[in-house]
């Protein structure tokens, strides 16, 4: 539906001057991106249905501020996108899923229990939730640092195809593990 809309707008513009409100240039590509994303978001929100988890807003380092900025820009995009109404639903659903935990709570609990040396060891529910938060911060931090590493590489004059590489992770892993 949205691509068709955009195409119609383009052809109209070609035919003659007709009033159309300004729209973001990258709208069609974004729309297709959300279309791809839609099933994934549904899945993560369904499996990780844990409203108790807040988004990690107050974060430590500058990389995370960048991440936040990026998300703010995303929200701005949202506002623009609302001009073309049809995509609105999936767009508004998206920030909620980025709030959810990268590791589902059940999986994390299983992994912890598998790794206890003493099978009688137990863990409180509150402690479990806190470990979930801890691992969420760990994963987000790893991703943010990898992104930062990529940007630094780009600034140093390297060629980049916009792909996060294993080398980025290799560079950041030692410090990351020391920090956690």
């Amino acid at each position: 539906m949205p691509p068709k809309n955009a195409a119609a707008a383009n052809s109209a513009r070609r035919n003659g001057p007709q009033f159309k409100p300004p729209r973001p240039v990258n709208a069609p590509t974004q729309a297709s991106a959300t279309a791809q994303r839609a099933p994934a978001t549904k899945k993560t929100t369904a499996s990780g249905a844990r409203p108790a988890f807040q988004r990690a807003t107050e974060i430590v380092s500058s990389e995370d501020e960048q991440e936040e900025d990026a998300e703010d820009e995303d929200i701005d995009d949202d506002d623009l996108m609302e001009i073309d109404a049809p995509t609105r639903d999936t767009r508004t659903a998206q920030p909620a899923s980025s709030m959810s935990n990268p590791i589902p709570a059940a999986l994390l609990a299983r992994l912890l229990y598998e790794n206890f040396e003493d099978s009688n060891t137990q863990i409180q529910k509150g402690a479990m939730n806190l470990v979930g938060k801890y691992m969420e911060i760990f994963v987000r931090e790893a991703f943010a640092r990898a992104k930062n590493e990529r940007e630094m590489g780009l600034r140093a004059g390297g060629i980049s195809d916009g792909f996060l590489q294993v080398e980025d992770l290799e560079k950041l892993a030692p410090q990351l593990v020391l920090d956690f």
Binding site: A40, L107, E114, N120, A127, L130, M135, L169, L176, V177
Partner: protein, 131 residues
């Protein structure tokens, strides 16, 4: 021999599940940032996170044993963050938020007494059996 095979297979399955979750997360974040991640990156990140979880599990177990407990509580988790003040602040906030949410759920419980109370399910079970 068969048991080690089974254990190895179980570990592989758990890693696959983790791989899937991490992959979902990375893909989503990448879309937000107009980036891409190689499958190798996701694999390596999975391995890193898996190792971190394994270490965390062992740490928590040892912490609670050292405290003379059989059940891991939130204090043990907070001890994980002892070398990173910023991380400690964040987890503290999360802990306070969780406690206040719980306090709202069952209003009569005092937040301070709460942690202790929940740490004792095994102990109180014995107490009841005696009485």
């Amino acid at each position: 021999m068969a048991s080690t095979d089974a254990a190895a297979e179980k570990e592989e399955r758990l890693k696959s599940a983790l791989w899937y979750s991490i992959g979902q997360f990375v893909d989503e974040e990448c879309l937000n940032d107009d980036l891409n991640a190689t499958p190798q990156f996701i694999g390596a990140l999975t391995e890193l996170v898996y190792t971190q979880i394994a270490n965390t599990a062992r740490d928590l177990e040892v912490f609670s044993k050292h405290g003379g407990r059989k059940v891991i509580n939130t204090d043990d988790v907070m001890l994980l963050t002892r070398r990173n003040d910023a991380l400690e602040t964040m987890l503290k906030q999360e802990l306070d938020r969780m406690k206040s949410a719980e306090g709202r759920a069952d209003g009569q419980a005092v937040a301070g007494a709460h942690g202790k109370k929940r740490g004792r399910p095994a102990g109180t079970g014995k107490g009841k059996a005696k009485a």
